[in-house]
Amino acid sequence: MSDQAPLDTRRSRTRLLVAAGAVIVVATYAYLVVAQPAGMADSGTTRAGLIAMAGYVIGAVLIAAGSIHQLPTTTIAMIPVAIAVNIVVGQLVAVLGLPVYLDSIGTVLVSVLAGPAAGVVTGILANVIWGLTLNPIPLPFAVVQVVIAVLAGTAARIGVFRRVYLPPVAGLVTGVAAAVVSAPISAFVFGGATGGGTGAIVGAFQAMGQSLLASTTLQGLLSDPLDKLITFTVVGILLAALPSRFLQRFPFAREHRVVTTAPLAPPPSPSE
């Protein structure tokens, strides 16, 4: 690795990695949706699983490698906290017995405060850490976190979090996108069975005559939008509750005036 490369070469290498990763992910999805009807005829012995897995994992790795190079040290220091928020709140919700996952609050929070690149790294590494500690099943779904982070960062940039009623809408949109992107993994890698309740819903849709990919997509559309709606709403309330001096620390939040329409405050002086 040529780490002594000048700054703008490194920046273009970053862009190249992210763009290549995004192209691979989109191409994988497009191929699976187009090739799927013919491929499903012969009882799971197709290469759709390999393509879904390889395309999404390679894409996610490229995007993560590209994104992490453009992050300053203060953002890197913040990402472990955000991943811990993802995991601890996700487990807490499971213990409280809520009917949602809420395992991407940290991802959305970081995307909103420090930009989508930071959110992408948070989301992908959160899934890697799930894989290292509890359960390897979420690993192939890492690319879904990329979609969540990019959409959350974009929503923050266009000012969704300045109004109380807009975050739930952005959450719904993100949930639909997440359901669509994760469906090929559920279908071709896990055969629709990623968990008890979701598996039963997939079965119900298949019994109504839907194909496997259509069933996992519809199952995702039932659960993901509600989950992301609550996630975005929680993040919106959290942002409103956090002191504005805290929010001013983040260059991304300051530059795009993520939370408030008030004029730009001067950055906190170093002598403070």
Partner: protein, 259 residues
């Protein structure tokens, strides 16, 4: 339960270079997904993973952890696909409106064998490799040290984070916060918990960032390793041979179809 599941028995499998084990895991995954017949996965599980687990002396934990993850998935897979697989035509067994088709069962067998392989291979890697060693080895192999910082520090952070969450919950209950029985109303409990938690944790971060920058964390110069990771020529060769076998598993069937 978020602690890494590493079981240190000091066996030959534990002493392998972590990168070798990771390459082996990835090669196995490519092979079982490229050759999607159930017997390929069965051969890998019986011929590679189980012997490796026996040599590593962690067969018990592997079965316990893997079984806990796999049991619900496999049961749901067999039930759902056996009963409702879209391509199912041949009835094997019928009872009222329920009918099990052989196509559905074959699909569940093919997909299920692959998932068993995926989960057992990943769990075996985690059981026999300390996360810190894995990160050092990958950084030495050229991965950005930022990745290893994030992963290692998250693993240390989670227990501290959880005890802080417990303390905040107790403090809020002490001043009268009730946890309602209605699951939907419990979401309301999240807010008085999350606010102090997030604010407190992120406040700690600011000082950490300054301290890291002062110690050259952002430097892009190549670092030297404090702890040498054991490696051998045989493993270096294996790290080339295993991916080649995996590539062959992808390419040979394709060529076979074309000819």
């Amino acid at each position: 339960m978020t602690q890494a599941q590493f079981v240190g028995t000091g066996s030959p499998v534990h002493r392998l270079n972590p990168v070798t084990k990771l390459v082996a895991l990835l090669s196995i995954l490519v092979i079982v997904f490229a050759l999607p017949q159930w017997w390929v996965s069965a051969i890998v599980v019986v011929g590679v993973l189980l012997p490796a687990a026996v040599i590593a002396r962690c067969g018990g934990p592997l079965i316990a952890v893997g079984g806990r993850i796999l049991l619900p998935i496999v049961v749901v897979l067999v039930l759902v696909q056996g009963l409702t697989f879209p391509g199912g035509r041949t009835m094997v067994w019928q009872w009222g409106v329920l009918s099990v088709t052989s196509e559905g069962l074959l699909f569940a067998l093919n997909v299920g064998a692959r998932i068993v392989c995926l989960v057992l291979a990943s769990v075996l890697l985690v059981l026999t490799t300390h996360p810190g060693d894995l990160m050092s080895a990958l950084t030495e192999a050229g991965m950005s040290p930022k990745f290893s910082y994030i992963i290692s520090s998250t693993l240390q952070l989670i227990p501290a984070f959880r005890s802080r969450a417990d303390a905040i919950l107790l403090a809020q209950q002490a001043r009268g916060l009730a946890v309602p029985r209605n699951p939907l109303r419990r979401i309301g409990v999240m807010m008085p918990l999350l606010g102090p938690l997030v604010l407190g944790m992120f406040t700690d971060v600011e000082e950490r960032g300054t301290a890291m920058e002062a110690r050259g964390f952002g430097s892009t110069a190549r670092r030297t390793a404090l702890e040498a990771i054991p490696d051998s020529t045989a493993q270096r060769v294996a790290r080339w041979v295993m991916p080649l076998v995996a590539v062959a598993a992808v390419v040979v069937p394709l060529v076979w179809e074309v000819l």
